[in-house]
Structures are given as C-alpha cells and as structure tokens.
C-alpha cells in the first residue's frame, strides 16, 4: 500500500523553480533514500510533500487535514532545534500531540515508553535534553518521531553531524522500521550509506528527479557525473555493496 504519492509536484520560490514536476511513491516497508547535491530541492520536496509550503501538483499527504496528516507521517527536520531546557521524556511525549488526548491516555504512555526503550533513552529520560550530546539529542528527536506512531517517517539528513557509529545505528534502526512495515523517506549525503541501507534511491538535481529505482542502477556513472560532477568507485564488502566518491 502506498503511504505517499506525489504527482507532478512543483514549487516556485522567489520566482525560481525549486521543484519541477516531481512524481514519487513511497510504499509500506520501503526505505527510500533521497540523494542529490546541495540545493537540489531535497528539503523543499519533503516540506511540500508534507503540505508545509505552497506547491502545485498533488501530494496524498498534503491533501489531508493538519492533524490527519500528522497521524500518517512524522517529520524529522534537518535542524535539530530544541528551544527550551525540557526533559527528554517531555520532548518525546510531544510526539503524541496529533492524537486525541494529546499524551495523557494509556496508549500515549505506551507509545512514549516504547519509543524511550527502543532508542535506549531510559538513563536520560528525566535529564534536560539540551544537556545531552548531539548524538543523544538526535536519538531523542527520533524517539519523538517514533512516539508519533505514524506509518511513514520523513527524515531530512538525519545522520548529518553524527559520528560514524551513530550514523550506522540510525540507519540500522531505519532499516528495522522498514522491515516492520513502515515507509521511510530519508535524505542522505553519504552515498555509501545510501547504497548500503536503502531499498530505493531517488536522485534529485536542479529540482528534477534524474533517476528513481534500485540504488546501483541510480548511481550509474553518468547519473552521478551529471548530478554531482564526480565519479564513484563501487566496492563489494562483507556487509554488502557500497560506493566511494573519487
């Protein structure tokens, strides 16, 4: 079943075409990597798909009401903003805002506890999130998205600024979530991680989808040269194929 359907999505900002006729479908159990150079329109695509900015074309999510949409898709923005010294548990409980009761029913407590356990945040639950390291804060924010219990998760560069171990842990979690039946749209700059973990890649450049499909097919030499101006060395490892930019 498809969780997100975009049809001919276009966005114009300050008289500049940022997205041009993007069509895309995300289905249950799929981890889709959104790749492309800086300024390709990855964040804009996510915001438009979620109905946060004006666009032309259609998005199955944007067509829903604000709360209905929030029960279908959780979003992890690129900036990991935490404005106030709020406890980890309180931050995670914000994920229950779209649901009736807003965090005070038994099922809300279960969802919050499950997210805390899954992200191994029990030792920090009463600590102020602002006092945690960047990696720990990222885990808290992912836990907030998990507490939202949506079939789709949209994450904008979730591994940016994380150390290699945390990057792997984050993408392994996303892989697991996909295996459990959730759909994920994740923008990534690390093409090696994208090849290793994603079921499908969508290559975006200049606001247009250049390729959409199997990672190795998308990362063909001419595509990569066209989008990034580099070439990739394809490497087979015991953990599966990966790529190195050269």
């Amino acid at each position: 079943m498809s969780l997100l359907e975009l049809r001919e999505l276009s966005v114009i900002r300050r008289n500049r075409q940022v997205l041009n006729d993007v069509s895309l479908t995300i289905s249950e159990g799929e981890l889709v990597g959104l790749i492309g150079p800086n300024g390709a329109g990855k964040s804009t695509l996510m915001e438009a798909a979620l109905g946060m900015i004006p666009f032309s074309g259609s998005s199955s999510l944007a067509a829903m009401g604000t709360e209905g949409r929030a029960r279908k898709a959780a979003y992890l923005p690129q900036s990991r903003e935490i404005a106030w010294p709020v406890s980890v548990e309180d931050l995670i409980s914000l994920g229950r805002l779209p649901w009736p009761g807003g965090g005070y029913r038994a099922e809300d407590r279960d969802a919050i506890e499950s997210a805390i356990t899954r992200m191994e945040l029990q030792p920090f639950r009463h600590r102020t999130a602002l006092r945690l390291s960047g990696g720990e804060q990222a885990r808290v924010l992912i836990a907030r998205a998990l507490a939202q219990q949506t079939p789709l998760i949209v994450a904008d560069e979730p591994v940016a600024g994380l150390d290699p171990a945390q990057q792997l842990a984050c993408l392994r979690l996303f892989r697991q979530l996909a295996q459990e039946g959730r759909g994920l749209l994740v923008s990534l700059h690390d093409l090696g991680l994208a090849v290793r973990f994603c079921d499908r890649l969508v290559l975006l450049a200049g606001g247009t989808v250049l390729a959409d499909g199997d990672p190795r097919h998308v990362l063909r030499d001419e595509m990569v040269q066209n989008a990034f101006g580099i070439t990739l060395r394809h490497v087979e490892t015991p953990d599966g194929p990966t790529v190195l930019p050269v």
């Binding site: 979003y75 404005a83 914000l94």
Partner: protein
C-alpha cells in the same frame, strides 16, 4: 498538579486579600472585608467596593495578563527576552490614552481615557495584522511590533512635545508610569471581559507552543497549524495587553521577568509556564501595588516605576548567569 501551582494560587489569593485591606483609610481587616461582602451604611462599604475592590481585581487581572502574555510571547518566539509589549499594542494603547489627556477628553468623561487607549490598541493590533500578514514568520512579527512601537513612541513624544502647558505634560508623564490608583468598577467592567477572552485564546495556544519547542517545521508536522496559532496568539495578546494598558498605563518588566523567575520551579515547557506565569504576574503586580501604598503612602509612587525597580536587578542576575556559562 505540581505543588508550586497550589503555592502560587494561595499566594495570589493571600495578596488579593492583602490588597483589599491596604489603603490610607484606617479600617480593620475583618470590618473592611465584612463591609465589602455584606455592604451596609457609611463610608466603609463604599471605600471597599468602589476603591479597593476594583484596584485589587485589576491588579490580579492585569498582572495575570502580563505574566501570561510574556510566557506566550517567549514560547512563540522561542526567545527568553521576548515580552508582550513587543507587538506594539501597549505602545499604541498608551498613545491613545495620551491623546485623550492632551485633547482634554479625559477630563470630560470618566471612560474617555481608557476607551481612547482601547481604540489605540485596536489600531495597533490592526496594523500588526496588516504588517505581519498571515504568511510572515516570527521575525516579521517582531519587526512589525518594533515598527509599531517606534511609531507609537514617536507619537507619544510628539504629543508631549506639543502639550499646551506643563500640567498636561506632567499628567501624561505620570499616566505613562502606570498605576492602579483611583480605578473604578467601570474600569473593571471595561477591561476584565476582554482580558479574560484574550486569556482563553492565549491558553488555547499551549499545545502549539509546546510543539514549537522543536521548531516551526517539526511543530507543523505534529499537527500544529502555524497560521491558526499565530492569529490566536496575536488576537489573545491584543485583547489582554490593550485593555491592561488602557486602564493601568504602561507596567513594564512583568511579562519579561515572571517567566524567568518561574522557569526553574515549573520547568520550561510552555504549557506549564503559561498558567504559572499568569499566577506569577498577578502575584508580582499585586505585591508591587501593595508596596506602592505602603512604602511612601503620602506620595503617589507609580506602579510601573516599582515593577521596573524590581525588574532591573533580575537582568543583572541574568547577565551574571550568562557570563558564568549558564542559559537564560
């Protein structure tokens, strides 16, 4: 409910009663309260019902509005230095009041001054909506607020500059300092319903302000409508702050310092800080209003002056805290 809320409520009620029994008339506490409730002959019920009761109600309502407005602005802008005066409505209300004094309208009708101030506040709110627009972000709102405040301050300065005699100028300056002295139940009837309506609107933003802790995009993805939140907040603040300024003048620092004082006790989550700051604001204004009557009863010490005297050292504390590496 956290014990701190019960403590704040008790403190506020205690100060409300203390405000009722504080004044130049030498009345015993029991007699004055009984006279206020049961009425009777003589001047005591009149003093209690016509002078002290409106003053205490206004102290509570205006303090609550300023505290609530401060916490809401700080939560919306995610900035601990925000305060309700930032949207320019209080400046415009002050301009309206100053014009009523300058033109002599204030002398002719008892409610001319607050009504003129309310018109100023409404004009300020309209201007804010026009300038900040539905699609503008928080920066646009701050810029619009600063522009309106600057315009209102310029207008007030012009009126002072052109005042026909030193007495009018003197009256304007004293009014601008803020006071709850000599307010009647008419002032209460004018301001209280609007303040309550504004408070209901602002309290309705609590969940949205909580979500804004994670930024505007994350809040929108959690089902918060940025446009609805913004309108509700602007309307609520204008309905609280406009009438508060209209009947009491400019009372600064309350909206700024109360959330700062309470954050360590109730936490930084806006939905908890909003009701706590409403209670805290009422406590601060009631305390200051009792103090102005007790410190120098023979001189008319202005409420706004005292709140500024209380507020300034808190800023020194904040400077000390940030210099030692802490967060404000």
């Amino acid at each position: 409910m956290k014990p701190v809320f019960a403590l704040l409520t008790l403190l506020m009620l205690g100060l409300f009663i203390l405000s009722l029994v504080t004044g130049p008339a030498d009345l015993s506490m029991a007699d004055s309260l009984l006279a206020m409730i049961w009425g009777g002959d003589g001047p005591v019920p009149i003093v209690m019902r016509e002078i002290r009761l409106p003053r205490a109600i206004l102290g509570l309502a205006i303090g609550g509005a300023l505290g609530l407005g401060g916490a809401a602005m700080q939560g919306y802008l995610r900035n601990p230095l925000a305060e309700p005066g930032l949207i320019g409505v209080s400046g415009m209300a002050a301009l309206g009041a100053v014009l009523a004094i300058q033109t002599g309208m204030a002398l002719n009708a008892p409610l001319a001054l607050p009504l003129s101030a309310l018109i100023g506040a409404a004009a300020g709110a309209g201007l804010l909506i026009l300038l900040a627009g539905p699609g503008g972000g928080s920066v646009t709102l701050i810029l619009a607020g600063i522009a309106i405040s600057a315009l209102a301050n310029a207008g007030t300065a012009l009126v002072l500059n052109l005042s026909p005699n030193p007495y009018a100028a003197n009256e304007i300056v004293f009014w601008l300092m803020g006071s709850l002295a000599d307010r009647s139940m008419l002032h209460v009837a004018l301001a209280l319903p609007l303040i309550l309506l504004g408070a209901v609107l602002v309290c309705g933003t609590a969940r949205g302000l909580d979500a804004l802790t994670l930024g505007e995009s994350a809040a929108m993805s959690m089902g918060v409508s940025a446009v609805a939140l913004r309108w509700r907040l602007i309307a609520g603040l204008a309905l609280m702050i406009g009438p508060a300024t209209a009947v009491a003048g400019v009372i600064g620092f309350v909206g700024l310092v109360v959330p700062h004082i309470l954050r360590p006790w109730v936490g930084a989550r806006p939905s908890l800080l909003l009701p706590a700051s409403a209670l805290g604001g009422a406590i601060l204004v009631l305390t200051a209003d009792i103090a102005v009557r007790m410190i120098v009863p023979e001189r008319d010490l202005k409420l706004g002056v005292l709140t500024a005297i209380i507020g300034a050292p808190l800023f020194l504390h904040l400077i000390w805290k940030t210099r030692s590496g802490g967060r404000i």
